[in-house]
Protein backbone atom coordinates (compact mmCIF):
# COMPACT_ATOMS: atom_id res chain seq x y z
CA UNK A 1 0.00 0.00 0.00
CA UNK A 2 1.42 3.36 -1.04
CA UNK A 3 -0.32 6.49 0.22
CA UNK A 4 -0.37 8.94 -2.65
CA UNK A 5 -2.83 11.62 -1.57
CA UNK A 6 -1.65 15.14 -1.23
CA UNK A 7 -4.53 16.24 1.00
CA UNK A 8 -6.84 14.75 3.60
CA UNK A 9 -10.17 16.41 2.85
CA UNK A 10 -12.79 13.80 3.68
CA UNK A 11 -13.30 10.11 4.33
CA UNK A 12 -15.95 9.68 1.68
CA UNK A 13 -13.31 9.57 -1.05
CA UNK A 14 -10.88 7.24 0.78
CA UNK A 15 -10.79 3.51 0.09
CA UNK A 16 -11.01 0.96 2.91
CA UNK A 17 -7.38 0.09 2.15
CA UNK A 18 -6.27 3.72 2.57
CA UNK A 19 -8.15 4.03 5.86
CA UNK A 20 -6.53 0.85 7.19
CA UNK A 21 -3.08 2.00 6.09
CA UNK A 22 -3.59 5.25 8.01
CA UNK A 23 -4.81 3.37 11.09
CA UNK A 24 -1.80 1.02 10.95
CA UNK A 25 0.53 3.99 10.68
CA UNK A 26 -1.23 5.65 13.61
CA UNK A 27 -0.61 2.54 15.73
CA UNK A 28 3.14 3.05 15.38
CA UNK A 29 2.78 6.74 16.21
CA UNK A 30 0.84 5.79 19.33
CA UNK A 31 3.87 3.71 20.36
CA UNK A 32 6.08 6.76 19.82
CA UNK A 33 3.84 8.68 22.24
CA UNK A 34 4.58 6.10 24.94
CA UNK A 35 8.36 6.57 24.73
CA UNK A 36 10.22 8.87 27.08
CA UNK A 37 11.28 10.93 24.04
CA UNK A 38 7.99 11.43 22.23
CA UNK A 39 9.34 13.26 19.23
CA UNK A 40 10.54 12.00 15.86
CA UNK A 41 12.18 14.04 13.07
CA UNK A 42 9.82 12.98 10.26
CA UNK A 43 8.64 16.54 9.43
CA UNK A 44 11.79 18.41 10.43
CA UNK A 45 12.01 21.73 8.61
CA UNK A 46 8.35 21.70 7.56
CA UNK A 47 5.98 24.51 8.43
CA UNK A 48 2.48 23.60 9.53
CA UNK A 49 -0.20 26.26 9.89
CA UNK A 50 -3.30 25.71 11.98
CA UNK A 51 -5.83 27.90 10.18
CA UNK A 52 -8.82 27.81 12.51
CA UNK A 53 -11.51 30.11 11.17
CA UNK A 54 -14.04 28.47 13.48
CA UNK A 55 -13.12 28.26 17.16
CA UNK A 56 -11.74 25.01 18.49
CA UNK A 57 -9.55 24.11 21.40
CA UNK A 58 -9.16 20.35 21.51
CA UNK A 59 -8.72 19.70 17.80
CA UNK A 60 -6.30 22.61 17.46
CA UNK A 61 -4.22 21.47 20.42
CA UNK A 62 -4.22 17.90 19.14
CA UNK A 63 -3.04 18.96 15.67
CA UNK A 64 -0.50 21.35 17.15
CA UNK A 65 0.97 18.68 19.40
CA UNK A 66 0.93 16.15 16.54
CA UNK A 67 2.92 18.53 14.32
CA UNK A 68 5.34 19.37 17.14
CA UNK A 69 5.97 15.69 17.85
CA UNK A 70 6.87 15.27 14.19
CA UNK A 71 9.40 18.12 14.62
CA UNK A 72 7.53 20.53 12.35
CA UNK A 73 7.30 24.25 13.07
CA UNK A 74 3.72 25.23 13.90
CA UNK A 75 1.89 28.52 13.65
CA UNK A 76 -1.58 28.92 15.10
CA UNK A 77 -3.93 31.23 13.35
CA UNK A 78 -7.37 31.98 14.72
CA UNK A 79 -10.05 34.02 13.05
CA UNK A 80 -10.72 36.28 16.01
CA UNK A 81 -7.29 37.88 15.87
CA UNK A 82 -6.75 38.02 12.13
CA UNK A 83 -7.33 39.94 8.93
CA UNK A 84 -10.39 37.80 8.28
CA UNK A 85 -12.02 40.15 10.76
CA UNK A 86 -10.89 43.05 8.56
CA UNK A 87 -12.63 41.64 5.52
CA UNK A 88 -9.92 39.53 3.91
CA UNK A 89 -11.22 36.51 1.99
CA UNK A 90 -10.29 32.95 2.92
CA UNK A 91 -8.53 32.61 -0.41
CA UNK A 92 -6.35 35.66 0.21
CA UNK A 93 -5.57 34.56 3.75
CA UNK A 94 -4.52 31.12 2.53
CA UNK A 95 -2.40 32.59 -0.27
CA UNK A 96 -0.65 34.85 2.21
CA UNK A 97 0.14 31.88 4.40
CA UNK A 98 1.47 30.00 1.42
CA UNK A 99 3.64 32.97 0.52
CA UNK A 100 5.32 32.35 3.87
CA UNK A 101 6.24 28.89 2.51
CA UNK A 102 3.78 26.94 4.59
CA UNK A 103 3.98 23.25 3.71
CA UNK A 104 0.79 22.01 5.35
CA UNK A 105 -2.36 24.00 6.12
CA UNK A 106 -4.83 22.55 8.60
CA UNK A 107 -8.20 24.19 8.11
CA UNK A 108 -11.19 24.39 10.41
CA UNK A 109 -14.03 26.34 8.80
CA UNK A 110 -17.74 26.80 9.28
CA UNK A 111 -18.49 26.32 5.60
CA UNK A 112 -18.78 22.82 4.16
CA UNK A 113 -16.25 22.31 1.38
CA UNK A 114 -13.86 25.07 2.48
CA UNK A 115 -10.81 22.73 2.58
CA UNK A 116 -11.67 21.35 -0.87
CA UNK A 117 -11.77 24.95 -2.10
CA UNK A 118 -8.28 25.66 -0.71
CA UNK A 119 -6.91 22.42 -2.14
CA UNK A 120 -7.90 23.51 -5.64
CA UNK A 121 -5.47 26.42 -5.79
CA UNK A 122 -2.91 25.91 -3.03
CA UNK A 123 0.41 24.18 -3.57
CA UNK A 124 0.50 23.29 0.14
CA UNK A 125 -1.03 20.14 1.58
CA UNK A 126 -4.48 20.71 3.07
CA UNK A 127 -5.91 18.81 6.04
CA UNK A 128 -9.55 19.17 6.94
CA UNK A 129 -9.98 19.76 10.68
CA UNK A 130 -13.77 20.06 10.33
CA UNK A 131 -15.78 21.90 7.68
CA UNK A 132 -19.31 22.96 8.56
CA UNK A 133 -21.63 19.98 8.90
CA UNK A 134 -19.74 18.12 6.18
CA UNK A 135 -16.81 16.11 7.56
CA UNK A 136 -14.25 15.88 10.34
CA UNK A 137 -12.01 13.17 8.90
CA UNK A 138 -9.44 12.87 11.70
CA UNK A 139 -12.27 12.49 14.25
CA UNK A 140 -13.81 9.71 12.18
CA UNK A 141 -10.40 8.04 11.91
CA UNK A 142 -9.65 8.27 15.62
CA UNK A 143 -13.06 6.79 16.38
CA UNK A 144 -12.50 3.75 14.15
CA UNK A 145 -8.91 3.50 15.48
CA UNK A 146 -10.28 3.28 19.03
CA UNK A 147 -12.94 0.73 18.05
CA UNK A 148 -10.39 -1.39 16.16
CA UNK A 149 -7.95 -1.26 19.07
CA UNK A 150 -10.54 -2.17 21.69
CA UNK A 151 -12.60 -4.69 19.72
CA UNK A 152 -9.87 -6.06 17.47
CA UNK A 153 -12.00 -5.41 14.39
CA UNK A 154 -14.56 -3.08 12.88
CA UNK A 155 -16.06 -5.50 10.37
CA UNK A 156 -19.42 -6.88 11.49
CA UNK A 157 -19.83 -4.65 14.57
CA UNK A 158 -23.03 -2.80 15.38
CA UNK A 159 -22.23 0.86 15.96
CA UNK A 160 -24.92 3.23 17.18
CA UNK A 161 -24.45 6.96 16.76
CA UNK A 162 -26.79 8.78 19.07
CA UNK A 163 -27.66 12.46 19.10
CA UNK A 164 -27.48 15.39 16.74
CA UNK A 165 -26.79 13.67 13.42
CA UNK A 166 -28.13 16.37 11.11
CA UNK A 167 -25.60 19.03 12.07
CA UNK A 168 -22.75 16.67 12.86
CA UNK A 169 -19.66 16.39 10.68
CA UNK A 170 -18.41 13.80 13.15
CA UNK A 171 -21.43 11.62 12.37
CA UNK A 172 -20.83 11.89 8.63
CA UNK A 173 -17.12 11.05 8.84
CA UNK A 174 -17.96 8.16 11.18
CA UNK A 175 -20.59 6.81 8.80
CA UNK A 176 -18.11 6.76 5.91
CA UNK A 177 -15.25 5.19 7.84
CA UNK A 178 -17.40 2.61 9.63
CA UNK A 179 -19.35 1.42 6.60
CA UNK A 180 -16.22 1.21 4.44
CA UNK A 181 -14.67 -1.04 7.07
CA UNK A 182 -17.77 -3.25 7.24
CA UNK A 183 -19.62 -2.09 10.36
CA UNK A 184 -23.41 -1.72 10.59
CA UNK A 185 -24.36 1.79 11.61
CA UNK A 186 -27.54 2.75 13.47
CA UNK A 187 -28.39 6.44 13.74
CA UNK A 188 -30.70 7.51 16.54
CA UNK A 189 -31.97 10.76 18.05
CA UNK A 190 -34.98 13.08 17.77
CA UNK A 191 -36.59 12.87 14.30
CA UNK A 192 -35.82 16.56 13.73
CA UNK A 193 -32.11 15.81 14.08
CA UNK A 194 -32.01 12.35 12.48
CA UNK A 195 -33.51 12.44 8.98
CA UNK A 196 -34.48 9.17 7.34
CA UNK A 197 -32.54 10.29 4.26
CA UNK A 198 -29.28 9.35 6.00
CA UNK A 199 -30.05 5.73 5.15
CA UNK A 200 -29.03 6.51 1.58
CA UNK A 201 -25.41 7.22 2.68
CA UNK A 202 -24.42 3.57 2.51
CA UNK A 203 -26.14 0.16 2.45
CA UNK A 204 -25.35 -0.62 6.11
CA UNK A 205 -26.91 2.51 7.61
CA UNK A 206 -30.30 2.50 9.33
CA UNK A 207 -32.21 5.22 11.11
CA UNK A 208 -34.35 4.62 14.18
CA UNK A 209 -35.99 7.04 16.56
CA UNK A 210 -36.44 4.34 19.18
CA UNK A 211 -33.54 4.58 21.59
CA UNK A 212 -34.08 1.18 23.22
CA UNK A 213 -33.90 -0.49 19.83
CA UNK A 214 -30.78 1.51 18.94
CA UNK A 215 -28.95 0.52 22.12
CA UNK A 216 -29.97 -3.14 22.41
CA UNK A 217 -27.50 -4.77 20.03
CA UNK A 218 -24.86 -2.05 19.96
CA UNK A 219 -21.20 -3.07 20.31
CA UNK A 220 -20.25 0.59 20.25
CA UNK A 221 -22.29 3.64 21.28
CA UNK A 222 -20.98 6.94 20.00
CA UNK A 223 -22.70 9.89 21.64
CA UNK A 224 -22.78 13.25 19.94
CA UNK A 225 -23.18 16.63 21.52
CA UNK A 226 -26.10 18.83 20.55
CA UNK A 227 -24.58 21.43 18.25
CA UNK A 228 -26.49 24.46 19.49
CA UNK A 229 -24.16 26.75 17.56
CA UNK A 230 -25.10 25.17 14.24
CA UNK A 231 -28.84 24.83 14.73
CA UNK A 232 -30.76 27.52 12.93
CA UNK A 233 -34.04 26.79 14.68
CA UNK A 234 -35.16 25.07 17.83
CA UNK A 235 -34.93 21.37 16.99
CA UNK A 236 -36.34 20.03 20.28
CA UNK A 237 -38.21 21.60 23.19
CA UNK A 238 -35.52 21.65 25.88
CA UNK A 239 -32.25 20.06 26.94
CA UNK A 240 -34.12 18.53 29.86
CA UNK A 241 -36.50 16.78 27.52
CA UNK A 242 -33.63 15.69 25.30
CA UNK A 243 -31.83 14.20 28.29
CA UNK A 244 -34.99 12.35 29.33
CA UNK A 245 -35.76 10.98 25.88
CA UNK A 246 -32.31 10.40 24.33
CA UNK A 247 -29.70 10.82 27.07
CA UNK A 248 -27.64 7.79 28.05
CA UNK A 249 -28.61 7.40 31.70
CA UNK A 250 -27.97 4.56 34.14
CA UNK A 251 -31.37 2.94 33.48
CA UNK A 252 -30.65 2.70 29.75
CA UNK A 253 -27.05 1.72 30.41
CA UNK A 254 -28.27 -1.32 32.36
CA UNK A 255 -29.76 -2.75 29.15
CA UNK A 256 -26.67 -2.14 27.02
CA UNK A 257 -24.30 -5.01 26.18
CA UNK A 258 -21.80 -5.34 29.05
CA UNK A 259 -18.83 -5.04 26.66
CA UNK A 260 -20.22 -2.16 24.60
CA UNK A 261 -17.83 0.78 24.20
CA UNK A 262 -19.09 4.23 25.16
CA UNK A 263 -17.56 6.93 23.00
CA UNK A 264 -17.93 10.70 22.71
CA UNK A 265 -15.94 13.16 20.59
CA UNK A 266 -16.14 15.82 23.30
CA UNK A 267 -16.76 18.28 24.70
CA UNK A 268 -19.27 16.33 26.76
CA UNK A 269 -22.34 17.87 28.36
CA UNK A 270 -22.67 15.83 31.54
CA UNK A 271 -26.26 15.12 32.40
CA UNK A 272 -27.51 15.91 28.90
CA UNK A 273 -26.40 13.32 26.34
CA UNK A 274 -24.50 11.24 28.90
CA UNK A 275 -24.76 10.68 32.65
CA UNK A 276 -21.64 11.59 34.58
CA UNK A 277 -21.18 8.11 36.01
CA UNK A 278 -21.23 6.57 32.52
CA UNK A 279 -18.76 9.09 31.12
CA UNK A 280 -16.35 8.10 33.91
CA UNK A 281 -17.39 4.45 33.93
CA UNK A 282 -15.47 1.32 32.94
CA UNK A 283 -17.00 1.08 29.46
CA UNK A 284 -16.11 4.66 28.58
CA UNK A 285 -13.15 5.14 26.22
CA UNK A 286 -13.63 8.90 25.90
CA UNK A 287 -10.17 9.86 27.14
CA UNK A 288 -8.50 7.14 25.09
CA UNK A 289 -10.12 8.73 22.05
CA UNK A 290 -8.18 11.89 22.89
CA UNK A 291 -4.89 9.97 23.13
CA UNK A 292 -5.63 8.15 19.88
CA UNK A 293 -6.53 11.41 18.17
CA UNK A 294 -2.97 12.58 18.58
CA UNK A 295 -1.60 9.40 16.99
CA UNK A 296 -4.09 9.56 14.12
CA UNK A 297 -3.23 13.20 13.41
CA UNK A 298 0.49 12.42 13.44
CA UNK A 299 -0.19 9.65 10.91
CA UNK A 300 -2.29 11.97 8.74
CA UNK A 301 0.40 14.69 8.71
CA UNK A 302 3.14 12.14 8.02
CA UNK A 303 1.31 10.43 5.15
CA UNK A 304 0.00 13.59 3.52
CA UNK A 305 3.47 15.12 3.59
CA UNK A 306 4.77 12.21 1.51
CA UNK A 307 1.70 12.10 -0.72
CA UNK A 308 1.92 13.17 -4.36
CA UNK A 309 5.59 14.01 -4.11
CA UNK A 310 7.29 14.70 -7.42
CA UNK A 311 8.88 11.32 -7.78
CA UNK A 312 8.52 8.03 -5.99
CA UNK A 313 11.93 6.67 -5.10
CA UNK A 314 12.45 3.48 -7.09
Amino acid sequence: MIWNRKHLLDLQSLSAEEIIHLLDTAREFKAVGQRSIKKVPALRGKTVINLFVEPSTRTRISFELAALRLSADVINFSAEASSLKKGETLKDTARNLEALNADIIILRHGASGAPHFLARFLGAHVLNAGDGAHEHPTQGLLDVFTIREKKGRVDGLNVTILGDILYSRVARSNIWALTKLGARVTLCGPPTLVPKSFESFAPNVRVTWNIDEALRDADVINLLRIQHERQKASMFPSTGEYAALFGLNTARMAKVKPDALIMHPGPINRGVEIASSIADGPQSVILEQVTNGLAVRMAALYLVNGGASLQVAG
Binding site: M1, D24, T25, E28, L70, N305, G307, S309, V312, A313
Partner: protein, 182 residues
Protein backbone atom coordinates in the same frame (compact mmCIF):
# COMPACT_ATOMS: atom_id res chain seq x y z
CA UNK B 1 21.98 -17.98 -5.19
CA UNK B 2 24.84 -16.73 -3.04
CA UNK B 3 24.27 -18.90 0.02
CA UNK B 4 21.95 -21.85 0.41
CA UNK B 5 20.07 -22.62 3.60
CA UNK B 6 22.92 -24.62 5.17
CA UNK B 7 25.59 -22.09 4.22
CA UNK B 8 23.47 -19.29 5.64
CA UNK B 9 23.08 -21.23 8.89
CA UNK B 10 26.88 -21.68 9.13
CA UNK B 11 27.34 -17.99 8.40
CA UNK B 12 24.91 -16.95 11.14
CA UNK B 13 26.57 -19.32 13.61
CA UNK B 14 29.99 -17.84 12.83
CA UNK B 15 28.64 -14.29 13.18
CA UNK B 16 27.19 -15.21 16.58
CA UNK B 17 30.56 -16.52 17.71
CA UNK B 18 32.27 -13.32 16.56
CA UNK B 19 29.72 -11.24 18.49
CA UNK B 20 30.23 -13.42 21.57
CA UNK B 21 34.01 -13.15 21.30
CA UNK B 22 33.88 -9.36 21.10
CA UNK B 23 31.35 -9.17 23.96
CA UNK B 24 32.13 -11.79 26.60
CA UNK B 25 29.70 -10.19 29.07
CA UNK B 26 26.39 -11.62 27.86
CA UNK B 27 24.49 -9.67 30.50
CA UNK B 28 25.15 -6.33 28.85
CA UNK B 29 24.38 -7.44 25.29
CA UNK B 30 21.22 -6.41 23.40
CA UNK B 31 20.43 -7.32 19.79
CA UNK B 32 18.29 -4.90 17.78
CA UNK B 33 17.16 -5.84 14.28
CA UNK B 34 16.49 -3.05 11.79
CA UNK B 35 13.00 -3.27 10.25
CA UNK B 36 12.24 -5.16 8.22
CA UNK B 37 15.07 -7.35 6.88
CA UNK B 38 17.21 -7.17 10.00
CA UNK B 39 14.55 -8.45 12.39
CA UNK B 40 14.53 -12.14 11.37
CA UNK B 41 18.35 -12.09 11.20
CA UNK B 42 18.52 -10.70 14.75
CA UNK B 43 16.16 -13.43 15.97
CA UNK B 44 18.36 -16.12 14.40
CA UNK B 45 21.50 -14.59 15.91
CA UNK B 46 19.79 -14.43 19.31
CA UNK B 47 19.04 -18.16 19.08
CA UNK B 48 22.69 -18.90 18.22
CA UNK B 49 23.97 -16.63 21.00
CA UNK B 50 21.69 -18.31 23.52
CA UNK B 51 23.51 -21.58 22.76
CA UNK B 52 26.94 -19.98 22.99
CA UNK B 53 26.24 -18.24 26.29
CA UNK B 54 23.81 -20.73 27.76
CA UNK B 55 21.39 -17.87 28.47
CA UNK B 56 18.98 -15.79 26.44
CA UNK B 57 20.07 -12.53 24.89
CA UNK B 58 17.44 -9.76 24.65
CA UNK B 59 16.40 -9.11 21.07
CA UNK B 60 14.27 -6.27 19.72
CA UNK B 61 13.49 -4.32 16.60
CA UNK B 62 13.83 -0.75 15.46
CA UNK B 63 12.05 1.11 12.68
CA UNK B 64 14.11 3.89 11.14
CA UNK B 65 11.47 5.40 8.87
CA UNK B 66 11.09 8.70 10.72
CA UNK B 67 14.86 9.20 10.78
CA UNK B 68 15.50 8.67 7.07
CA UNK B 69 17.19 11.47 5.13
CA UNK B 70 15.03 11.01 2.03
CA UNK B 71 11.53 11.53 3.46
CA UNK B 72 11.15 14.63 1.34
CA UNK B 73 11.90 12.82 -1.88
CA UNK B 74 9.39 9.99 -1.78
CA UNK B 75 5.95 8.89 -0.69
CA UNK B 76 5.74 8.18 3.01
CA UNK B 77 7.16 4.69 3.64
CA UNK B 78 5.17 2.20 5.70
CA UNK B 79 6.06 2.20 9.38
CA UNK B 80 6.80 -0.99 11.34
CA UNK B 81 6.98 -1.67 15.07
CA UNK B 82 9.89 -0.58 17.24
CA UNK B 83 10.36 -2.76 20.31
CA UNK B 84 13.47 -2.06 22.33
CA UNK B 85 13.83 -4.73 25.04
CA UNK B 86 14.37 -3.05 28.40
CA UNK B 87 16.74 -0.20 29.11
CA UNK B 88 19.69 0.14 26.74
CA UNK B 89 21.47 2.65 28.97
CA UNK B 90 25.06 1.48 29.42
CA UNK B 91 24.50 -1.69 27.36
CA UNK B 92 26.26 -2.91 24.25
CA UNK B 93 23.71 -2.75 21.44
CA UNK B 94 24.38 -4.80 18.31
CA UNK B 95 22.38 -3.38 15.42
CA UNK B 96 21.55 -6.16 12.97
CA UNK B 97 20.62 -5.81 9.31
CA UNK B 98 20.39 -8.20 6.41
CA UNK B 99 22.22 -6.23 3.73
CA UNK B 100 24.72 -3.41 4.20
CA UNK B 101 24.60 -1.08 1.22
CA UNK B 102 24.85 2.73 1.38
CA UNK B 103 25.03 3.01 5.18
CA UNK B 104 22.14 5.45 5.30
CA UNK B 105 19.79 3.02 7.03
CA UNK B 106 22.37 2.41 9.74
CA UNK B 107 22.90 6.13 10.24
CA UNK B 108 19.14 6.53 10.68
CA UNK B 109 19.09 3.53 13.05
CA UNK B 110 21.77 5.11 15.25
CA UNK B 111 19.72 8.31 15.48
CA UNK B 112 16.57 6.33 16.29
CA UNK B 113 18.38 4.19 18.88
CA UNK B 114 19.67 7.16 20.82
CA UNK B 115 16.11 8.30 21.53
CA UNK B 116 15.88 5.27 23.82
CA UNK B 117 18.99 5.92 25.87
CA UNK B 118 22.76 6.05 25.71
CA UNK B 119 24.29 2.64 25.09
CA UNK B 120 27.94 2.34 26.13
CA UNK B 121 28.73 0.83 22.74
CA UNK B 122 26.92 0.27 19.46
CA UNK B 123 28.10 -2.37 17.02
CA UNK B 124 26.83 -3.41 13.61
CA UNK B 125 26.35 -6.95 12.32
CA UNK B 126 25.20 -7.65 8.74
CA UNK B 127 24.77 -10.85 6.75
CA UNK B 128 25.88 -9.37 3.43
CA UNK B 129 28.10 -6.35 2.75
CA UNK B 130 27.40 -5.53 -0.86
CA UNK B 131 29.54 -2.41 -1.13
CA UNK B 132 28.60 1.09 -2.41
CA UNK B 133 28.96 2.82 0.94
CA UNK B 134 27.98 6.50 0.89
CA UNK B 135 28.75 7.29 4.53
CA UNK B 136 31.75 6.62 6.81
CA UNK B 137 30.09 3.65 8.52
CA UNK B 138 31.51 0.12 8.56
CA UNK B 139 30.05 -3.10 9.99
CA UNK B 140 31.84 -4.85 12.87
CA UNK B 141 30.64 -8.33 11.98
CA UNK B 142 30.04 -9.39 8.37
CA UNK B 143 28.64 -12.69 7.16
CA UNK B 144 29.91 -12.35 3.62
CA UNK B 145 31.29 -9.58 1.45
CA UNK B 146 29.97 -9.52 -2.08
CA UNK B 147 30.89 -7.16 -4.90
CA UNK B 148 27.67 -6.10 -6.58
CA UNK B 149 26.62 -3.70 -9.29
CA UNK B 150 23.91 -1.12 -8.75
CA UNK B 151 21.73 -3.04 -11.17
CA UNK B 152 21.62 -5.99 -8.82
CA UNK B 153 19.50 -6.55 -5.74
CA UNK B 154 20.33 -8.80 -2.80
CA UNK B 155 17.73 -10.72 -0.85
CA UNK B 156 18.35 -12.46 2.48
CA UNK B 157 15.62 -14.90 3.45
CA UNK B 158 16.08 -16.42 6.89
CA UNK B 159 12.76 -16.34 8.73
CA UNK B 160 11.68 -19.94 8.12
CA UNK B 161 14.78 -21.81 9.28
CA UNK B 162 14.05 -24.32 6.51
CA UNK B 163 15.06 -25.10 2.94
CA UNK B 164 13.58 -21.88 1.50
CA UNK B 165 16.20 -19.87 3.35
CA UNK B 166 19.19 -18.45 1.57
CA UNK B 167 20.82 -15.39 0.09
CA UNK B 168 19.88 -14.53 -3.45
CA UNK B 169 21.24 -12.02 -5.92
CA UNK B 170 19.54 -10.99 -9.09
CA UNK B 171 19.65 -8.39 -11.81
CA UNK B 172 16.89 -5.89 -11.77
CA UNK B 173 16.31 -2.43 -13.10
CA UNK B 174 14.02 -1.07 -10.49
CA UNK B 175 14.97 -2.41 -7.10
CA UNK B 176 18.56 -1.15 -7.16
CA UNK B 177 17.39 2.44 -7.35
CA UNK B 178 14.86 1.77 -4.62
CA UNK B 179 17.52 0.25 -2.41
CA UNK B 180 19.92 3.06 -3.12
CA UNK B 181 17.39 5.36 -1.56
CA UNK B 182 17.01 3.18 1.50
Amino acid sequence: MLLDSAALQRTLARMAHEIAEANPDAGSLVLVGIQRGGVPVALRLATELAQVFGRTVPCGSIDVTFYRDDLNQRTAPAVHPTEIPGDIQGKTVVLVDDVFFTGRTVRAAMDALHEFGRPSRVQLAVVIDRGHRQLPIRPDVVGKEVATSLRQSVLVRCSSGGEEDGVFIRDSQTSSAAQLAS
